[in-house]
């Protein structure tokens, strides 16, 4: 679940909410789903809060290999 993308997690959360709102699953499954949903929501919020912006350049090297470099051109004055 940790490696899940934000989009996947949000989608899964959405599905769980839908399932629970339909209310046609057994109670113990409901509680499990609820716990899962809460964990997903928490994970989503955490992902929102973490600031891990990574900007890099990807180019092809002389021998056709992948070359990655830091991006220097971002001089934003905002």
């Amino acid at each position: 679940m940790k490696d899940m993308s934000f989009e996947k997690a949000l989608e899964k959360l959405e599905n769980i909410v839908g399932e629970l709102e339909k209310g046609d699953i057994p109670l113990d499954a409901t509680l499990k789903k609820y716990e899962e949903g809460v964990a997903l929501a928490r994970m989503c919020q955490k992902k929102l809060d973490s600031a891990r912006q990574k900007i890099e350049l990807l180019v092809k090297g002389e021998d056709g290999e992948f070359v990655k470099k830091d991006f220097e051109g971002d001089h934003d004055e905002d």
Binding site: L10, G23, K47, F66, F71, G73, D74, H75
Partner: protein
């Protein structure tokens, strides 16, 4: 012979060559305009056609080398301006125009090229909606193909920073105008796809590029031309990674816009498409959390109600009922038992009363009550006349009182009846 013996007699070849020289001298680097007809495009790659107007026709040739620079394909009926030189095709003694540049009149060459390519690619299915891939919402890793120094890349990064910081952005810088632009853009799209395959094949923990924004800021139609090139369209079409075309908004659409999985009017708009607003997301998550809680508590409420309904139902109450019934039965039995006992007691009681009555009736007082009396002599009951003598004192007892008397005469058994 007319004309004199001094007159030079040309061979056909000589005359043809001289005419060619005259024509080439006089008509080099000229523009001529007309309508294309009788167009022939043999496999050699050269193009042969006739330029005509209302009254005249001019044979024309466009050699392959010059033709490859054309942005559009020649068609019969096109009104064009041709730049070139007039010369003679010796073998047929035919003068003709050797065109180097052909420009479309009216709509313009670029426009014609655009329309032609669009039509061709559309027919081939490159714009089919069914082939378009969905654009991921909030990708972990975003690919950007644009100039490394242009406004587009700055705009995209600005949007990313403002909206959602937790995103990886991989930029492949390319030229976005000039002759090399189309190749660089196409290669960068291929590069990002290759890179994803490389990540997958090596089992890398790096996130793959989930979506590509390819574009540039606004410019003239010529500036944007790379995004109308077939090679770019084909690279976009072949890309396994969804591509958002984001070319500045001065013209309505580029070929890239039609081919891409999604089109945005500007690079900023493209970034906003895949990078949603953080606050909006937070609100959505909160909303889901609320709904989760509400769903579960309403579920519990519902279950509570059901449980209550069930426990109230006849079936669930049956054991209690049975007990109640048994209790009732017990009560009933007890009541009956009581009644029985009471009855019995009553019976007994009335039995006693009867016996008592009998006893009473049998008792001497009762006999007296019925009118009999008892006679005592000296405290002993007088049962017969034996032992009695005249002058004996007798006490006679009635029901309520008594009387004392004296015996006057004693009679035998037989005389007693007479009394």
């Amino acid at each position: 012979m007319a004309g004199g013996s001094n007159a030079h007699i040309y061979t056909v070849t000589e005359l043809t060559r001289d005419v060619r020289l005259v024509l080439e001298d006089a008509f080099t680097g000229i523009w001529v305009e007309g309508e294309i007809s009788n167009l022939r495009l043999p496999v050699s790659g050269h193009a042969y056609f006739t330029l005509k107007d209302e009254n005249s026709m001019l044979k024309c040739v466009l050699f392959k080398s010059a033709g490859s620079r054309l942005k559009f394909a020649l068609e019969d009926g096109m009104r064009v301006s041709c730049f070139g030189r007039v010369s003679v095709y010796d073998k047929q003694g035919q003068y003709q125009l050797y065109a180097d540049i052909i420009e479309l009149q009216g709509k313009g060459a670029l426009y014609a090229a655009f329309e032609q390519l669009k039509e061709r690619l559309r027919k081939e299915g490159l714009f089919d909606e069914a082939r378009k891939k969905p654009v991921p919402f909030l990708p972990v890793r975003l690919g950007v193909i644009t100039s490394g120094t242009g406004a587009a890349v700055r705009d995209i990064l600005k949007v990313a920073r403002r909206r959602f910081t937790n995103i990886e952005i991989t930029i492949s810088p390319v030229k976005v105008q000039g002759d090399d632009a189309k190749h660089e853009i196409a290669q960068a799209i291929e590069l990002m796809n290759e890179y994803n395959r490389y990540l997958a094949n090596t089992g890398s923990k790096e996130h793959p590029i989930e979506v590509i924004i390819a574009g540039r800021g606004g410019g003239s139609m010529e500036d944007l031309w790379a995004f109308n090139e077939e090679i770019v369209a084909r690279a976009i079409f072949a890309s396994e990674i969804p591509v958002i075309s984001a070319v500045g908004h001065e013209i309505d659409y580029t070929i890239s816009d039609f081919t891409a999985d999604h089109r945005a009017a500007t690079p900023s708009a493209a970034a906003e498409l895949v990078i949603p607003e953080k606050d909006e997301l937070r609100g959505r998550i909160d909303g889901y959390t609320d709904r989760l809680g509400a769903a579960v508590s309403s579920r519990l409420d519902l279950l509570g109600t059901r449980l209550k309904n069930l426990s109230d139902s006849y079936v669930m109450r049956a054991p209690v009922n049975a007990v109640l019934q048994l209790e009732q039965q017990v009560d009933d039995l007890a009541r009956r038992a009581r009644v029985g006992i009471t009855h019995h007691v009553e019976l007994q009681k009335s039995g006693f009363a009867m016996l008592a009555g009998k006893l009473k009736a049998l008792g001497p007082l009762s006999v007296l009550n019925r009118g009999y009396s008892i006679t005592f002599q000296d405290g002993r009951v007088v049962r017969d006349t034996e032992g009695l003598r005249p002058g004996d004192r007798l006490l006679t007892r009635f029901a309520r009182d008594e009387v004392s008397s004296r015996v006057e005469e004693v009679r035998g058994k037989n005389e007693r009846h007479v009394i």
